[in-house]
């Protein structure tokens, strides 16, 4: 496109504003090429839902393989090579450590050191020497947050990452509750991740036995009513039921809050799980069943009699819940909300629930039903979801083709928290919300725009954006051409006429387009500023 044509485009701006067909504009050829052809639209849609957003070239890659084949590959992550991200994760030593090693190498502050610091016998600096910040428990959670972001941005196993996020949130634990910070790495690595595309009943059972869940929802302390503690500091004290886990198991993990259970069911489930505890919680914390604290009597749950005895009581409850049609519907609804729309199509929920029931809770089978559903593929579904903060941050990073190291991933995790979604930092067992209303508000929107600016300006440490590749061979003296490349690259042609018009108008700003010294025409376009505007646009907040 020649220079005068570019300027002519600016002159025709009012046409676009009154809603005239874009085809009248000289730049129409570019614009039309950018509008997704049907195959591109399908590829783009699955990338928006199954991944953390398309990187440059992803749409073409999915189309080349075929949407169906590409989805099948994502459903079988072990066969996808991911060595690059695994390599990068080696910078984070805590990820592969056992709970015992973490407790030993990242200990809590020694009370003696704390006393010395308080009394002035030791300076803060001396404390840091003896108790370095990178060997404190806070480091474990920071590495985990970093790893989550590193994988979200760089992993080829994108569906796996999306599902890890989904299931962690479903079986949420708060990393900063007591001992959980030493357990949460293993919880995600050994419980959530291996079952993220497996079978829901296995996932449920694994969460129930993990120290992170046992601690977070207090079940490790729940004992039969009237039990007297035999040893330790609480010797002689009477202890009893704690119904925290039992209630959330029914309300959040399986049946759902309207699942038809009663307070009596909650108490009975709590009785069944007495004795499910943690052995040596401050050393090598692991599951233990303590027969002495178990309530041996019969339990009645949802009308069923539970009298398997011992550890089997809890297992039988988990079997009962995992096999319950209400659980199937509850899980189906939540999956559909994440992958299709906030307002879930009821018929699709029923079909996904049927898949759950006929396959015994096979997560892949449920996902296949969703991906094949007309409701999923409908044009109305495209862009129907507002990105939650982590999805926005990662999708923007991927869209600009940024290279991210561990330091960069940490910056992304902090940015996500700033917009409201602290990873592993959701205090209540409900986890983070998956609905637009939770995430759209003035403060959060400003944080999104500020993130877009920081990202595109290259102000995030450890995140190197590659805007040059994004705008390709567009002549920087042609702001309009640069903009068209950005709209194609970042929004895949999905920009509204209004957004397009506003951005074109912005090209006149000296901040965006620097003129030549003699004022005769544009000399250079600030691609970063322009990209930030596109990333902060309403369209980019959707997926």
């Amino acid at each position: 496109m020649s220079a005068w044509r570019g300027r002519l485009a600016l002159g025709l701006l009012p046409l676009a504003l009154v809603g005239c067909a874009a085809a009248r504009e000289p730049a129409a050829a570019t614009a039309e090429r950018a509008a997704p052809v049907p195959d591109d639209a399908a590829a783009l849609h699955v990338l928006q839902r199954v991944t953390y957003g398309p990187r440059p070239g992803d749409v073409a890659r999915v189309r080349a393989v075929g949407v169906g084949a590409w989805l099948e590959r994502q459903l079988d992550p072990d066969r996808i090579d991911d060595t690059a991200v695994e390599q990068a994760l080696r910078a984070l030593p805590t990820l592969t450590m056992s709970i015992a090693d973490l407790q030993r190498d990242y200990p809590r502050l020694d009370p003696e050191l704390q006393r010395k610091l308080a009394s002035g016998e030791m300076t803060p600096r001396e404390l840091r020497e003896q108790y370095p910040t990178d060997k404190r428990p806070g480091r474990i959670v920071a590495e985990l947050q970093t790893a989550r972001m590193l994988r979200a941005v760089n992993s080829e196993r994108q569906l796996q990452e999306v599902m890890v996020d989904f299931w962690f949130n479903h079986f949420n634990v708060f990393a900063n509750k007591g001992e959980v910070r030493w357990y949460v790495t293993a919880y995600e690595r050994d419980v959530i991740r291996p079952h993220a595309l497996g079978r829901f009943p296995d996932l449920l059972r694994a969460t129930a036995r993990h120290p992170a869940m046992l601690y977070y929802l207090d079940n490790w302390l729940s004992v039969r009513p009237g039990y007297t503690v035999r040893t330790g500091p609480n010797q002689g004290r009477r202890a009893g039921l704690n119904e925290n886990y039992a209630r959330e198991l029914l309300e959040l993990h399986t049946l759902g809050v309207d699942g038809g259970y009663t307070q009596a069911d909650v108490t009975e489930v709590a009785r069944a799980f007495t004795g499910w505890s943690i052995n040596r919680p401050r050393q090598d914390a692991h599951f233990v069943f303590r027969p002495g604290t178990h309530d041996v009597g019969e339990k009645r749950v949802l009308g069923y009699s539970i009298r398997a005895g011992g550890e089997r009581d809890g297992e039988q409850i988990l079997d009962l819940l995992a096999g319950h049609p209400t659980t199937a519907r509850f899980i189906a609804r939540k999956l559909v909300r994440r992958l299709v729309a906030d307002e879930v199509p009821p018929a699709l929920v029923e079909r996904v629930a049927t898949a759950y029931r006929t396959t015994g809770g096979d997560i892949r089978a449920m996902l296949r039903v969703i991906f094949a559903a007309p409701e999923f593929q409908a044009p109305a579904a495209a862009g129907a979801k507002i990105k939650k903060p982590s999805e926005f941050v990662v999708s923007a990073t991927r869209a600009v083709g940024a290279t991210v190291d561990a330091r960069g991933a940490w910056a992304l995790a902090r940015a996500t928290a700033e917009i409201g979604e602290g990873l592993y930092e959701a205090v209540p067992p409900t986890g983070h919300a998956d609905r637009a209303e939770a995430w759209v508000n003035p403060g959060a929107l400003l944080s999104r725009m500020n993130f877009a600016l920081a990202l595109a300006d290259g102000r995030l440490p450890g995140v190197r954006s590659d805007l040059g590749t994004l705008v390709g061979d567009a002549d920087r003296r042609q702001p309009r051409a640069v903009l068209e490349q950005l709209l194609t690259g970042l929004l895949h042609g999905r920009s509204s006429p209004q957004t397009r018009a506003v951005l074109i108008a912005q090209l006149d700003q000296p901040e965006i387009t620097r003129l030549t010294a003699d004022d005769r025409g544009p000399a250079n376009t600030d691609v970063g500023k322009l990209a930030a505007l596109v990333l902060g646009s309403p369209e980019f907040q959707r997926r």
Partner: protein
Amino acid sequence: MMATRRALLKSGACALAAVAMPPRFLARVADAAEARGKVLVAVFQRGAVDGLSMVIPHGDPGYYASRTSIALARPRQGDADIALELDGFFALHPTLAPLLPLWRERTLAIVPACGSPDTTRSHFDAQDYMETGTPGVKSTPDGWLGRAAGVLPAGRVTPFRSVALGTQLPRILRGDAGAIALRSLDRFEVRTTTEVSTSKGFESLYQQGIQDLLHGTGRETFEAVKMLKSAGAARLTPANGAQYPRGRFGESLRQIAQLIRADVGLRIAFTDMEGWDTHVAQGAEQGQLANRLRDFGAGLAAFARDLGDRMSDVVVLTMSEFGRTVAENGNRGTDHGHATAMFVFGGSVRGGRLYGRWPGLAREQLFESRDLAVTTDFRTLFNEVATRHLAVPATAGLFPGWTPAAPLGLIG
């Protein structure tokens, strides 16, 4: 949601006019009586606070019978480390001592057995019901404070009419009138390294176009940014030597006070505090719950002090989704219960006394044989605060499907 944003757009026009000329705008605020409308600050203790530990019924023998390790000792004259006497039957947790002056000045009222008629013990549902104001009904799209904002008597309408401190807009403030959620006044702007036109660029992106949640919020955002900047709210330091506790709760209250003192048209503010779900090792005079209460009490007291005389226009209302079991559980903690205690202070609150019938802690007096019974429907309290303090018309029907009961009479 669409209607929401359209209503907002109209209100936005007023706000924009107001910021066009900052000095005159500020002067106008100072003399306009209506600009100093009454303010309600709602504080949510998320996670279900143990009301029996905040406001201790030491005169009820059931209290000590049910709690062997976590009960607070009876108050003793001159001992500030244990529960503080209120009226011979109830006492205040010692960490809430900063609130005692308010009680003595008769500006702090307490409703010790308040809650929902719904029996759910789910945090999530109970919070939802308390925020929508419709116990048992999940389909209510808006919150009762959001509805209140829409029916406030005529006055200045600015983007800051309803504000929540936090990263998310809580259910309680949702509604056609619109509301702002923000975490920090300092950071409420577009931060660029260079010129300001990028901010204008973002603004334009949300200025036109479709009426949806995103665009509406975007428009609201930029109006608010400009107004806040011209009012200089973030530069106001706490007055009267008020010292807020460190942490999110203290920060939120400090910033609400800034918004009130900057006269940006704030009428309804909301903030919340987590960490009340004390299933294990709750503690008594000291411990886990005491630590939370210390921040809670210190924050509220600092807020009252900061605002000084301005508190005559402001009422603070605290709430929590339900209380906790009367008996302690097997882990020196408490499980999910029913009624809890709520505080109301400021404005023309007739304080220095407790409101609502005490249901008693004897087993036969308990709700479902385990929890403190609700004798004051939370809607009775909330409705009274909204109608008597904010002057929301009684005919507005803030709480659909509910016929107002006789008011408690706690607002003069």
